[in-house]
Amino acid sequence: MGATARPDGGGSAASVTRDAALAQLDRPYGAVFWVAIAAVIATLVRIAYFTPIEASQGPAQKIFYIHVPAAVTALYLAFALMAVASVLYLWLRDPKLDRVAATSAEVGLAFTTVVLVTGPLWAKPVWGTWWSGDARLTSTLFLWLIILGYLILRQAVEDRAQRARYSAVLAILAGLLIPFIHLSVYLFRTLHPQPIVLKPSAPSLPPEMLATLLMSFASFALLFVALLRARYRLATIADGGLADGTASERDG
């Protein structure tokens, strides 16, 4: 984060820093982003053309290579990072941690949206229904709604420190909630068994399929890092209004 200008006081300095901020806005992505995009495209090509069609589910099974890595990225990278950053924020009160939490929430929301869109697309031909009361499905939906609520909350609070504290509290409580949603829906299902209990219990994948899956995991993780980085830079600019946001925050 190259600080090209600092506010030394006076109107001209402010406009210089504004220019620096705008210059960063023009190129928030960087090389990692383009490498990630190339990796995701390569993965999609491999999924479509170089991975065998599964015998019982047909082409629909290929959604699995997108659905599962997106879910794993959202849950174990984005939301884990969000929870850890939120806990650390309440402890250390570093605005950077708040931005990491907010940024992971937003990028995680994007990945969760991919999960929620690809899930029904796969379920319709394979399960015969778009939606079911499945435990994992329901907890993902509510996780998605909580993250939306988190982002709405952030929009609704102007004071930066207050916004950071509120967000951290919500994120931590949400972390405690998810097991309960999962548990209640799981109990619900075992008490009232559904006619379709077709579970994609992970069979040992043939090597070509496993390679595609691993490639997909890697490219999604890379895309996550790239998006997180880009979005974090924008958040820094938006919070500080400067290229080097933290300096002004400490002063203010």
Binding site: L90, I152, V169, F180
Partner: protein, 230 residues
């Protein structure tokens, strides 16, 4: 009076203040109680009794009403303190912040339980349920367990929501996902109770409610001080 009161005494004083205000005006309680009856009536007239048995519908209706009537009461909890900046008086009082939260939450619990005293008989009447003493006691137990969890989370989010630009609009967005396990467990336990099933099934669901209360009452009490410091 020279010694600052302990957490329990302070919480009780705050709860008593809120309950006294409510008893003298009865504004929020009456609107929540009327809302419950209206909601039960609306569900009644959107229901085709030849298609769905009342015994299958009633628990869902009861717990949906519980959720929204609870939100009505919770919204008022901290917005009432905004007038004349009364909240500042509470916060500079020489008591622990946890006591402020517990006092508010306790008053809300009494409020929510009071609304249920109106809502449950209304649903029982409209849906023509016949409950014995055992079933009534079980439903009372489920209601208390569910209310504790709902009020803990709702009171915390109410404290946060009033200080945002969206104010009371934000509370449902934040709180409803947290009510899901509570309402699911309470409704499922109620289904088993009013169908006269053995209590062991309902007890499983009540365990979920107990676990929720045990996690979220301490968590929200500890989180509250973080929402008000400046």
């Amino acid at each position: 009076m020279s010694e600052p009161p302990g957490v329990i005494a302070a919480a009780w004083a705050i709860a008593r203040k809120d309950l006294t205000v409510e008893l003298r005006t009865r504004a929020a309680f009456l609107s929540a109680a009327v809302f419950s009856v209206l909601a039960a009536a609306i569900f009644l007239y959107t229901w085709d009794p030849t298609a769905v048995a009342s015994i299958d519908l009633a628990p869902g209706v009861l717990w949906v009403i519980f959720t929204f009537a609870g939100l009505l009461g919770l919204n008022r909890s901290f917005s009432a303190e905004l007038a004349d900046r009364a909240i500042d008086g509470l916060l500079i009082a020489p008591v622990r912040r946890e006591a402020v939260f517990l006092g508010k939450a306790f008053a809300n619990l009494i409020f929510v339980l009071g609304v249920q005293v109106v809502a449950i008989p209304t649903v029982v009447l409209f849906y023509n349920l016949s409950l014995g003493w055992g079933a009534s006691a079980a439903i009372a137990g489920i209601t208390v367990l569910a209310s504790v969890g709902l009020v803990a989370v709702g009171t915390l989010f109410s404290a946060m929501a009033v200080n945002t630009r969206l104010a009371e609009l934000l509370l449902p967005v934040l709180a409803l996902p947290f009510f899901v396990p509570v309402v699911t467990a309470a409704a499922q336990a109620t289904v088993l109770v009013i169908n006269g099933r053995p209590l062991s099934g309902a007890v499983d669901w009540m365990r979920v409610l107990v676990a929720f209360d045990l996690v979220f009452v301490p968590a929200c009490t500890m989180a509250y001080p973080f929402t008000i410091e400046s």
